[in-house]
Assembly symmetry: C2
Homo-oligomer: 354 residues x 2
C-alpha cells in the first residue's frame, strides 16, 4: 500500500485529523481526573500515531463512495471509529500474546513497563501493572469506537444499523481471537486456520468496514450480501498474505521480527499445508524448532526452508490467488455503483510486502 | 438490600429475563463459530447469573420512574445494558487484581484456569490463557452494553444522549481503576480515596444509571445536574460503606474473604483516616501486616483493632452520614417528579451489610 493516490492521502489526512481531535479532547478531560490518567491517553495517542495505514477507515470510505455516497464529516467519523476498534484489538491482542512492541515501537504495556512504571521493583508485578494499563486502554478504545459513531450525527436508522454491524465485528473477532489463542494448546484438528482468518481478521478488517460504508450509502441488502462475501474472501487472502509476510517478510519493512511468528508456533494455513504435505523426517525437523521460545536465527532459516521444500509456501500462494479470484467474481455480480476502487483492493491486499 | 418490594422483585425479574435472552442469543450465535467460543459465552452467562442485585439497571428504572417515565421494553433494555457494563468491569477488574473468585464462585479466569484450560501443563501459561479468556469476555460485555442500547429502539436523540452518558461512565471508571491500581505503588499523596470513589464507583454505579433513567424520562438539564450531584454523593457513601464491609463485614454474608482487602493493602478513605489519626506506634503495627500477602487471621484482627482504636472506623462512619445528608439535601432541590424512591436509596446504600 505504498503507492497512495492523492485522493487516498487526503482521506488519510482527514482520518488522522479526526483521530487527533478525539485524543486531544480525551487527554484534556483525563487531566481533570489525574495526571496519570492523562498519561494513559497520551500513550494511546502516541501509539495510534505510530501506525498509519488507516486501512479500516479507508475501507468504509471506499465502500461508501463505491455505492454512490457523498463523503461528509458524519461518514468520516464513522469511518474513523473503525481505527479505534482496530487499535483496541491490537492493544488487547498484544496483552494476550505477551508482545511489547507494535509498529516498531513500544506498545502500551511495553512503554508502561519500561518507563511509566519503572518504580515498581518486582518485575512480575511491573509487567502485570503494565498489562493492566494496556487492558484499560483497550477498553477505552472499544468504548470510544461506539462513542464516535454515536456522536457522528447519523440518524437512528443509520446509527442502529452501523452499530449492529460494529458489534457483530467485535463478536466475531473475539471468537476468532479466542480460538486462535487456544490453538496453542488445543489439538490440531480442533482449530482450522480458515475459521480463524475469517473471524479474527476478515470480520473487522473488511466485512465490518465495507458493509458499514455501503450501508451508509444506502446500498441494497442484496448488494451488501455480495459485498460481505467479497470482504470475507478478500480478508482470508489478506490473512494468508500476512502469514507469509510474518515468516518470509523483510523485517525492516514490516517493523517486527519475523522470528516471533516461528517462536510463537503460530498455527497458520501455511503450517496446516506443511503438515498435509511434509514427510515424517521434515515434520520432525520442523517440530524441533517451531514454537520453541529460544529458536535461533539459523533454526528459523531451516523452518523457512522446510516450508518451501514441502510445497507449503507454494500452496499458500495458490490459495491467495484463488481467494482473490473468488473476490473478483462476486464483485462482478454487484450491478450498481462503481466497483473499480473496491476491485483495486484485491491487488493491494494480495501483492503487498508489509 | 434484602427487603425487596414486590415491585422491585418484578423489576429484577424483567432485567434477568432480558439478560437471559441476550445470552441465549449470543450462545447460539457463538456456537456457529466454535464450541469453544460457545463455552466462553456460557461461562459469562453462568457468572452473571451468580450475582443478582442488578443494582445499576434498577437505578435506571428508579430514576426513570421518579421523573414520570412510563416503563417500556426500550427502557428495560437500556437499563439492562448497565448490568452488562457492570459485569465487564468486574471481569476486567478481577484480571487486574488477579482475583479468581466473584460472588463466591469461580470467575471467568478462575473457571478457565480450573476447568476449561486444565490441559495446559505450565501453570503460568495456564493462568495467562485463563486471564486472556476473561479479557475477551470483558470486551464482549462492553460491546454488548452498547449493542443493547442500539437495539432498544430508542430514537436518535435518546440513543445519542444515553450513549454519551454511557461512554462518559466508562471513561470515568477506567480513570478511577487506573489510579486505584497505581495506588499500590504510587506515593500516598498522589492518589486520594475520594477521587477513586468518585470515578471508579460513583460514575458507573450511580451517576451513569440515574442520569440515563432521568434522560429517558425527559428530565430538565437542571434536574439532571442536581441528580448527578446526588449520585456522586450517594456513590461515595456507597464506596465508603463498601470499604468498611470489605474489612469488618461478615464473610458468609458478603461471599468473599475479608482478609483479601487487608492483604491487598487497599488504599481506602478509612486507611487515609488511620494515617491522619494514628500514633507512630500504631502505624508501625499497621504497616507490619497491612498489604502483606501472607497475613494471618490473627494479624488481620489486629488491623481491625487498629482501625477502631485510631478512630478511623468512626470517622468513616461519620463521613458516610455526611455524604448521605448531602445527597438528601440536593435531592430536596429537585422540584419536579417524585423523588421518594430515590431518597430510599440513601438508606439502602448506607445501611447495608453486604
Amino acid at each position: 500500500m505504498s503507492d497512495l493516490s492523492t485522493h487516498e492521502k487526503a482521506a488519510i489526512q482527514r482520518i488522522n485529523e479526526t483521530i487527533d481531535a478525539y485524543f486531544a479532547e480525551n487527554i484534556q478531560e483525563a487531566a481533570h481526573i489525574s495526571r496519570y490518567y492523562e498519561q494513559l491517553w497520551q500513550d494511546m495517542h502516541r501509539l495510534i500515531k505510530s501506525g498509519g495505514k488507516r486501512l479500516r477507515p479507508r475501507m468504509v470510505l471506499r465502500a461508501h463512495k463505491a455505492f454512490g455516497g457523498m463523503e461528509s464529516q458524519q461518514v468520516v467519523l464513522i469511518a474513523t471509529s473503525q481505527e479505534l476498534l482496530h487499535m483496541s484489538l491490537l492493544v488487547h491482542d498484544d496483552v494476550i500474546d505477551r508482545d511489547y512492541v507494535r509498529y516498531g515501537v513500544d506498545n502500551i504495556a511495553g512503554n508502561y513497563f519500561k518507563t511509566n512504571y519503572r518504580a515498581v521493583a518486582d518485575e512480575v508485578d511491573r509487567l502485570h501493572y503494565a498489562q493492566s494499563a494496556a487492558l484499560l486502554a483497550g477498553d477505552l478504545l472499544i468504548s470510544g469506537s461506539y462513542r464516535m459513531m454515536a456522536e457522528s450525527g447519523a440518524d437512528t436508522k443509520a446509527l442502529s444499523a452501523v452499530q449492529a454491524i460494529h458489534s457483530k465485528s467485535i463478536f466475531d473477532v473475539a471468537g476468532g481471537e479466542l480460538i486462535d489463542t487456544e490453538a496453542a494448546f488445543r489439538e490440531m484438528g480442533d482449530v482450522d486456520a480458515h475459521t480463524v482468518a475469517l473471524y479474527k481478521t476478515a470480520s473487522y478488517t473488511f466485512v465490518g468496514p465495507l458493509t458499514i460504508g455501503a450501508t451508509l450509502a444506502g446500498a441494497s441488502s442484496q448488494s451488501i450480501e455480495r459485498l460481505k462475501q467479497f470482504a470475507q474472501d478478500l480478508g482470508i487472502a489478506y490473512q494468508l498474505r500476512d502469514d507469509v509476510i510474518g515468516i518470509f517478510g523483510d523485517e525492516s519493512t514490516i517493523g517486527k521480527p519475523t522470528i516471533s511468528d516461528i517462536r510463537e508456533g503460530k498455527h497458520t494455513f501455511m503450517v496446516e499445508e506443511f503438515y498435509e504435505q511434509a514427510s515424517n523426517v521434515q515434520k520432525q525437523r520442523f517440530e524441533q524448532y517451531f514454537g520453541s521460545k529460544d529458536v535461533t536465527h539459523d533454526e528459523a532459516e531451516d523452518i523457512k526452508q522446510l516450508l518451501i521444500e514441502s510445497g507449503a509456501l507454494a500452496r499458500t500462494e495458490t490459495a491467495i490467488t484463488q481467494y482473490a479470484q473468488k473476490a473478483d467474481d462476486v464483485l462482478s455480480q454487484i450491478d450498481t455503483g462503481d466497483m473499480s476502487e473496491l476491485r483495486e483492493l484485491i491487488t493491494i491486499v494480495t501483492k503487498r510486502d508489509k
